[in-house]
């Protein structure tokens, strides 16, 4: 009987989870690939809060190459790793960041958006989001090298949904490897930037 109870509960949990919700803008219409519910995290961090951040240089959809080190001594850096273009939660994250330039400016911070997709894919995807003020960077080749350096590359080659905050001195001040199925709440990022003030 115990086996049957376990089976029953498991079946209900699994199948009711399949109907779980996320808000999805009409902006993307039917173009989002449904990934289903994924393993919340699937990597092991290679960096720690308090450590010096590894440097990197990646191509942006604007055509430039952006290096983390170019912000040293000038701006705090918030890195938003998202798993993949054209997937549900990711498509519902950066469009919100599109209206936050003033908030980031007030905290003397910049945002870098990174995925492991190639530039043409990122270009097409982010065009649906309106005008993004922050650099969108491609960690496509060598595939996921930067994500792997930080320890946020998943076993299927996508990135985690992670926020990493690096201060002006290049020190990692915050790491949040979020459940990939959920969007991190904005206040968690802004609260950390508040701590870097003064």
């Amino acid at each position: 009987m115990k086996t049957y109870k376990v089976f029953l509960v498991s079946l209900v949990v699994i199948l009711s989870g399949a109907a779980s919700a996320y808000g999805l803008s009409e902006a993307f219409k039917g173009n989002i690939y449904q990934t289903g519910k994924l393993k919340p995290t699937d990597s092991v961090l290679r960096v720690k809060v308090g450590e010096k951040s590894p440097d990197f240089t990646l191509p942006a959809i604007s055509g430039e190459r952006v290096a983390l080190s170019q912000y040293r001594g000038k701006k705090h850096v918030v890195i938003s790793f998202v798993p993949a273009a054209w997937t549900p939660v990711c498509s519902d994250q950066w469009p919100g960041y599109a209206i936050l330039q003033g908030l980031f400016d007030r905290h003397d911070a910049v945002l870098l958006g990174i995925t492991v997709d190639n530039i043409p894919t990122l270009f097409a995807w982010t065009n649906q989001m309106g005008k993004l003020w922050f650099p969108v960077l491609s960690d496509f080749w060598p595939h996921g090298k930067v994500a792997d350096t930080f320890g946020v590359l998943r076993s299927d080659g996508t990135a985690e949904r992670a926020i990493i905050i690096i201060d002006k001195d290049g020190i990692i001040r915050y790491i949040d490897v979020n459940d990939i199925n959920k969007r991190p709440f904005l206040e968690s990022i802004i609260q950390e930037l508040e701590k870097l003030k003064g």
Partner: protein, 187 residues
């Protein structure tokens, strides 16, 4: 074996009920689903909706003849684009003595926290209340609609009935208000 079959039957029944209750957005003519909405923290927004201080409320408790709900999100580009039109709609209603107090606007932030809605409000100078649906429970109750989504609700003697339910922005506030007046029976 008999127990196993019973388990399957129960599981199918439970799951079917979950899908049946969560699958569809409310249609015109439907009774508005019971929603557990968060009472706005701001006094002026509670006053606008005619709500006492408290934790939760239902649409039928709003002091109005008609409530226009916008299911929206700070993270939705079309909701951002639509914000000025909603503000214009609010001004049209509040500027008309025959409509002021009779039609109320309420945004429901699907998956949004109070903080995220505050950011959205400040960015677009939204004058009407936005209530957070942090864990998507209201969004789920409303059929997981895409955003923005508009639901018009007629309130009579505390009962709330849907008269408008549509995906997408309206672009022209005057035309949308006219449609609401016609469909709700206010005109």
């Amino acid at each position: 074996m008999k127990r196993f079959v019973q388990c399957i039957v129960v599981a199918v029944a439970v799951i079917s009920s979950l899908y049946a209750t969560a699958a569809q957005p409310p249609a015109s003519g439907d009774v508005m689903p019971a929603l557990k909405l968060v009472v706005p923290a701001e006094r002026q927004h509670r006053a606008y909706l005619g709500l006492p201080a408290g934790e939760f409320f239902e649409v039928g408790q709003v002091k109005a003849d008609v409530v226009i709900l916008e299911i929206m999100s700070m993270y939705c580009p079309f909701c951002q684009k639509e914000a000025p039109n909603l503000n214009e709609l609010y001004r049209l209603i509040e500027g008309n003595p025959k409509l002021k107090g009779r039609i109320k606007l309420l945004g429901i932030g699907a998956g949004n926290s109070s903080y995220e809605l505050k950011v959205f409000r400040e960015k677009y100078q939204v004058p009407f209340p936005l209530t957070p649906d942090r864990d998507f429970q209201t969004h789920l109750s409303l059929g997981e609609v895409r955003t923005p989504y508009f639901i018009g609700v007629r309130i009579e003697k505390g009962a709330a009935r849907v008269f408008y339910s549509k995906l997408g922005g309206f672009e022209n506030a005057s035309a949308f208000l006219e449609e609401i007046l016609q469909l709700s029976g206010l005109k």
